[in-house]
Symmetry: C2
Subunit: 330 residues, 2 copies
Amino acid sequence: MPDAVTMVEVSRGDFVESVHRGHAVISRADGRTVEAWGDSELVMLPRSSAKMIQALPLLESGAGASLTDEHLALACASHSGERRHVEKVARWLKDIGFDETALKCGPQVSEDAELAEEMIRTGEPVTRLFNNCSGKHAGFLTLARHLEANLEYVDPDHPVQLAVREAFEDVTVAPSPGFGIDGCSAPNFATTLSGLARAMAIFAEAREDGTARERAAARLRGAMFAHPELVSGKDRACANLMSAASEPIAVKTGAEGVYVAILPNRGLGVALKIADGATRASEAAIAAILVRLGALHRRHPLVSRYIDSPILNRNGSAVGAVRPTDSLLA
Amino acid sequence: MPDAVTMVEVSRGDFVESVHRGHAVISRADGRTVEAWGDSELVMLPRSSAKMIQALPLLESGAGASLTDEHLALACASHSGERRHVEKVARWLKDIGFDETALKCGPQVSEDAELAEEMIRTGEPVTRLFNNCSGKHAGFLTLARHLEANLEYVDPDHPVQLAVREAFEDVTVAPSPGFGIDGCSAPNFATTLSGLARAMAIFAEAREDGTARERAAARLRGAMFAHPELVSGKDRACANLMSAASEPIAVKTGAEGVYVAILPNRGLGVALKIADGATRASEAAIAAILVRLGALHRRHPLVSRYIDSPILNRNGSAVGAVRPTDSLLA
C-alpha cells in the first residue's frame, strides 16, 4: 500500500521543525478517483466528518420533517458550545419532550474561551448541551422517538444506529469493517478513505428533487452551507472555509486529522486523513486542496491563515509557520 | 537519509486510527551510537529539552555559586506554573534584585488546571512567573547580572546567549547551524539528533569532581533527579518517569515531540524527536526506550500509563489507547 505523503510542514526560523504526512482522495460519485495522495484504500474512522451521513436517516425516515436548516446544521455540527449552539439544542430537545439528561454524549467544557471563563466565574455547570456533538445526539433522539424505540440510542444494535450503518454503507458503497466508539459514546463506522470521498461526492451530486436519500443529502449539504457557524463556531476553520468559498461548498472536520468537503458545482467529494491525527495539519491540507480545485482563493483572509499560519510565541511574535507543501498546492 | 520509523500507534476499538513516526538515538559520550531509529543526523531544534545545556554557563561562570538544587531544577524546568514553582521563582528573582517584569518570557496560563480556574474566579493576573520557562529566565538573569551585562538577555548576541551557544556547541560537539526563537523568546540552537544524544551522554558521564563543565553538568543532572516535580509538575511525564526509575536518571521533554534522557549509571544519553511534534507520542516513545534499556519497569504504575495509555471518551470510558510499537519495546 502506498505510503503517506508529506502534506504540511511546520517551520521555526530557518528550520523545518515538524512534518505531517497524510492521505487524501478527490472522488466522483460513481467512484472514479480524480486525484489521490498516499493510500486511497486506507481503512479509517471518519469521526465527526461523518455527521452528515449519520443525519441521513433523520430526514429519510420522516422523523425530521418539521426540522429547520438550523436544526440540520446542528445535527451535522461539531459546534463550539457557544450560547447560540447550546440554546438552540436545548430548545430542540424541549420541543420533542426531552431535556439534556436524555443526551448520551457526556459533558464538555465550551470551546468558546470567553464563555468557558465566564462559566467558571459564575459557577454555571458544564452540561451535555455544551458537548460539540449535542446536535447530532438531538437528531438521534428525534429519530429514536419517531421509531418508538428505547432511548439507549448509542447502542450499536439500536434501531437508530442500525439505520445509520445502513445509510453509511450505502453512501460509502461498501460494507463497513466495524466501528470504534467516538468521544461522544456513539459508534463511529469505519470505511476506506476512497469510500468516504465517494460518499461526499454522492452528497455533492444529490438532486433536490431526487430519491428520498438524495433529497436528504441535498438538504443537509444546503443546511451546512447556509449556517457555517452552527456547524462549527466563531472563527473555526469549517466556518471560515465555507464562508470564504467562491461557490457553495460544505466542509467538515473530524477528530484525529480528518477533513471532508462536498463540492456540488463540480460533483466532487474530498476526504483526507493526516496520519498522525493533527488538526493543525488537516486544516492546512483541506484548505490547500480546495485552493487547488479553485473553490477557494488562497489570498482570501479567511483562507490564507490556513495556507500560511503563523506560530506565535508567548510575547505574540511570529516565530514560525504551518504551511501545506507543494504536493497539495502546486 | 533514513526515513522516520513508526514509534507509536493510536488505536480506537479494533482500528489503528493514527500513527506517529520518529527518530531516536542512544549514544555514548565519545559519540558512539549504541542504537538508533530513523535519521540520526536529523537537524532539529531541541526546544526545552536543552534547558540543562542552557543552564551550564550559570554554574561554570560562578554566577550560580549560591544557588540550591531547587533553583537549578527550576532553571532546567518546563514547570506547570503551580504555586510552588511560581513562588520559588519569585523569591529567586527578589534575591537577585529583580521582579517578574525583568523576565522576557511572556505570560502563560498555569498548567495546573485547578489553580488556573481559581485564578479566573479570583481575577488573579496571569504573570510571566507562570510561564513554564520562568526558572530558565531567572537563571539567564542571574548570569546577566554576574556578567554585568544589560538585561536584554534573549538577544542572540547578548553575552548570556553567546555563553549558551558556546556550551551548546561544546557538548553537542559540533557548530550549531543556527537557531529558532522559542515560545519564551529565547534563541533555541539547532543540532543533530545524534549531537543532542551525545550531549546527554556527556551529562551522564560528567564527574562530580571533574572539570568546571563536568561539575556543572553533574550538579544539574543531580538537581533534576532530586526534584522531578520542580522540573515539571504534579503528574507530569517527566516527574513520573524520573520518580519511577530504578536508578537515577534525568529526563526532559521539549515542545514539538522532543524527549531526552541522561543515564549516569550506564554512561548513556538518549534523544528522540517525533516527526509530527506530538507530545502524546514522545512520552510513549521515551518510556518505551527507557523500558528497553532496563531503567524503567513497564508494569510500574507511573510507567505503564505511557506504555498503554487509555483514550477516554467524554463519559470517561476507555475507547482506545496510545501505545509504543515493538520497534521500540521489543
